[in-house]
Subunit: 317 residues, 2 copies
């Protein structure tokens, strides 16, 4: 039995799985918004304890626990640095040792997007392929790569597909640069655009839906509802996002020539197949091998892919 | 002793090298502009015969001959298809068998840009690295990849960096698509832009230099001379090309996170180090890991890299 933890900016998802990666228990807790890395580590431990309880075991019984983390992960050193969407985590924190102590089980660290890609490759929508680009479409747009059956991480930071340039001197990205795909397609940038257009007097139901559902952000569910209501602003912002995804993912494909592209992430999973088809169609005019596009598939593991992928890190070698 | 042939749209470069890839003889012939694949194959054989004579041997003495080819290369079948910049080569031609018969030596085929990248990786500017992106900047912009010490070709067509999108709905590319990097940075597109601006009445010395030097195209040498003369049109078109290369190559780096980027090709080799530095500077604002840019180096093997890389294909396994 193994544990897996997907450490996100808004929530911590923990799972306990058996040796075949079948789910035995799971739990989700909000990510602390105050304090520092040790507080986050304790919340991660609490989430995994809950998942273990659901599975009828204790965390000390697990043969290992994998963590998919944002920020710069140093797997060898067992540290996470510059996780800027987590509280007080600008520096370097020895997460492997700290969390291992709390759980009484060995911990392995990996990059959040990479482990989610590995999960789709080993267990999900990309099982039948040897080369895969995972595109995780949420607040930002992250990417993970499997090439010739093995993760490709470069010098440790490969897959930053959100920061492929789709328009030189284009829109300002949350990363501070200009014209990145994420500046058009990231949910964070889409929300910022909705606020700007709304402030200029353009009508939208996006913020009404947000308030009615007790949200403080334009979540994937809020977008899905506004799109279903054919809200013109939501439709226009989404069309712009999909055009950017088409150009950026096609650019990546022109470089990599992988067999399959898997679309996951909060927005990808929530909007599902029809939007995967729209992304594939938006890629088509930019594909160099247009007669032979890659397979474009929806992530099969949904919200749990990150945590199940993290648990893969804890497999015996 | 091995042979190598770089089959280009304007010239055929042949080399004979020893087991350590040291040059023993070389020859260059123009690529036939009429006829069909068999005529091109005979011109390739003629170039290699000349190189062999310079090395004091006959082609039948060679242990093998490698070919770096444009178009779609099927290494297993020994065929080249859709080499559209070669005369009458829209279909599929069994180049391995045909050329092998003419030379009396076994022939191996590879992709032109990939073999040039391998040459820089094994013998040239990228020797000290494990992961490399080769950018070949000439009439078009081609790319080759070495990841973890091995060529990465995807399903056979990876590395099409010239068709990374740098501006959605941007300039028309020679490939027919819009906004590709090559639409701004390929020498073919740069020449087309110079003709358009000139036709509109803008002054330039580009075409004067071309005629004076007896050329029919704006060759890399013509561009180099016009830039040295600070011709405003040449300077402006080049600035636009470099901005596009900066965005496109940085996009590739954000996906791949390689150790080194090698800049070669006709324009890259001709313009040399100062322009490699300009490309590196143009990449900087688009690099996600801006504090840790890749090494950006000039190709060390110059004009012969393609042929020397092709000869590597004929190494004993």
């Amino acid at each position: 039995m193994r544990g897996g933890i997907d450490l996100g900016g808004t929530k911590i998802q923990a799972v306990v799985v058996d040796d075949a990666s079948a789910l035995l228990g799971q739990a989700r807790l909000p990510t602390p918004t105050e304090g520092g890395p040790a507080d986050v580590s304790e919340a991660m431990a609490a989430a995994l304890r809950e998942a273990a309880t659901a599975a009828g075991v204790q965390t000390g019984d697990l043969t290992g626990v994998g963590v998919g983390s944002p920020g710069a992960v140093d797997e060898a050193a067992g540290t996470v640095s510059s996780a800027r969407n987590l509280p007080g985590w600008e520096g370097t924190f020895a997460l492997r040792q700290d969390l291992g102590g709390r759980l009484g089980a060995p911990v392995k660290l990996g990059n959040d997007v990479q482990v989610a890609t590995d999960a789709e490759f080993q267990l999900g929508a990309a099982r039948e392929y040897d080369s895969v680009l995972g595109v995780f479409w949420g607040t930002g747009v992250g990417g993970g790569l499997v090439l010739d059956g093995k993760p490709w991480v470069g010098r440790g930071s490969a897959g930053e597909i959100g920061h492929v340039v789709v328009r030189r001197d284009g829109a300002r990205c949350p990363c501070g640069r200009r014209g990145c795909m994420e500046a058009y397609a990231g949910r964070g940038a889409m929300e910022a655009r909705a606020y700007r257009l709304h402030a200029r007097g353009e009508h939208t139901v996006l913020f009404d839906i947000m308030r009615r559902r007790g949200r403080e952000r334009l979540t994937s569910g809020v977008w899905a509802r506004a799109l279903r209501a054919e809200d013109p602003m939501a439709v226009a912002i989404m069309a712009r996002a999909i055009a950017a995804l088409g150009a950026g993912v096609a650019s990546a494909q022109n470089i990599l020539d992988v067999e399959a592209v898997i679309i996951g992430g909060g927005l990808g999973v929530r909007l599902g197949e029809p939007y995967v088809a729209r992304i594939a169609a938006a890629m088509q005019p930019h594909l160099f091998l247009d007669a032979r596009p890659p397979q474009v598939r929806l992530a099969a593991l949904g919200d749990l892919g990150g945590a199940v992928g993290a648990a893969l890190l804890a497999q015996p070698a």
